[in-house]
Symmetry: C2
Subunit: 333 residues, 2 copies
Amino acid sequence: MTKYNVIEKILGDRSYPRQNSGQAFAPSNIALCKYWGKRNAELNLPINSSLSISLAHLGTHTTIRMAEGMDSISLNGMPLTLNSRFSHRLIEYLNLFRPERDFYFDVKTDNNFPTAAGLASSASGYAAAARALNNFFGWELEDNLLSILARLGSGSASRSIYHGFVEWEAGFHVDGMDSYAHVLPHRWPDLNLAVLTLSIGSKPVGSTEGMKRTVETSVLYKSWPEKAQRDLDQLRLAIEQKDFELLGETSESNALAMHATMIDTRPSVLYWLPETVAAFHQIWKMRSEGVKLYFTIDAGPNVKILFLRNDLDIVRAVFPQCEIITPFDFSVS
Amino acid sequence: MTKYNVIEKILGDRSYPRQNSGQAFAPSNIALCKYWGKRNAELNLPINSSLSISLAHLGTHTTIRMAEGMDSISLNGMPLTLNSRFSHRLIEYLNLFRPERDFYFDVKTDNNFPTAAGLASSASGYAAAARALNNFFGWELEDNLLSILARLGSGSASRSIYHGFVEWEAGFHVDGMDSYAHVLPHRWPDLNLAVLTLSIGSKPVGSTEGMKRTVETSVLYKSWPEKAQRDLDQLRLAIEQKDFELLGETSESNALAMHATMIDTRPSVLYWLPETVAAFHQIWKMRSEGVKLYFTIDAGPNVKILFLRNDLDIVRAVFPQCEIITPFDFSVS
């Protein structure tokens, strides 16, 4: 089963575009129950279901047009060479959709979150690309199919098709046609995030490679699917009941468990810097003093703090360098 | 099954001492495959087998005599009050051996390793106590029975009955009569350790409590027994074949996996300080440059580096504050 087979199922023959250009925006997202481990690397099919919160207006704007003679790719207003890492991955994705061999794309993509925030751009990037392609070609696909298309570009992009709380069901079919995200009906305007950027350097090990190594060598990873499923159930409950402590504790525990499997990997994958651990201890200290802050952390050194709006001043005072994110408030810039 | 039942099996009726005093020394030890998780808390019966290296002359000297009217306990030359934590635990242990209710002990115990090194003193402490009691009462017990007696005081003390490489078999009997340590016949004089003391403060969570919480709440811990068994097999092989890379990699991976289960605990038990993580990264960086250093770390923030004697100068240069330990060389002080 290849990506081409899946595209075949969704689109049939590749058509020519019906519009001069296709534009779309997709939000970035932060997982509260993490996606860690693939059961199929080609199709980005996950071992466990995951749950995230989309970051409202923070994400990627993409415009797709037809190009002449060769693909043309720009990122944040700057043209990229086609052999850059970013271009290489995007071109491989675009190959899935060319109506003929010598059809070329012009792709302009802009991330509106500060690069320094260390947020993953591939999630919003491939979700915006899938949506922009849908508009460009006039496919008029349902969101669950767009979620599948986005997943073929980047696993976590399957969740960036939606705003708000989003669950990506792992599914079990070989072709992954049951592995897509859906949005949860709950809103939680008071729920805020603060991103603590501790390093903007490139990661020693990319997520795809990190996952692969973990699945192959971590013995503790064998218990991860059970852990993720338990946390997912708790998170759904926490969201339904607006139980912030349950949400925070479960998210933090899930992130730590994911990192625990990385730490158990051979050779060990430790994304934490001394500053990361200092931030953990600081947050725990504050929690022991009654301030309800929790954290989550992706495959990198930066810490994302979960808090309720009424603690905004405390968060700003203790972490003056942090970036505040309001997932349910699109008016804040 | 209580400690008293086990003592009954080993000693029968409690006898009166045959000597005026019993003296003994026992070495401290550092586990390369960690003991983490009890299947029976009363008897300190472990979930997994473990393997350690004893620290030669670094350990505890204990002298036991009869006292009048009440127990008398001194540590490193200083008398202790009987309601101190140290005394309380030791008295509970001594209770197992009193020939009659109003028989009292005078216990002088001295640790010759620097307190600042952050080495566990209960392992050598209870092994020395068991040996000193054996001499005092004239039981003439075999080492495997002494290992069981030591275990009743502190799990890892079962291993401090021996010098060199020591394996503590978990056993499976309810009374733990098959859960004792034995020595491996291999010597490895070039194998050295360096202790990096990063904090001498008391730990936020003691090992016993940490283990209990891990077993009760960590989902990843379910895979720990399998991980420990695999590592134990690899360590035996590494010792047999004097394969330092295998020994180092396996020890490091085992320690990281143990900490991974702690990190996965709810609430999380993270013994690492920012300095701990900085030391990990430093050691990994040096290894990537060809210097064969590996680390292990117990339930605390301090890092123990494993290296071969010919890298001593490098270790001293990079970690000038470290304490060098030569497990197979008793002449070095």
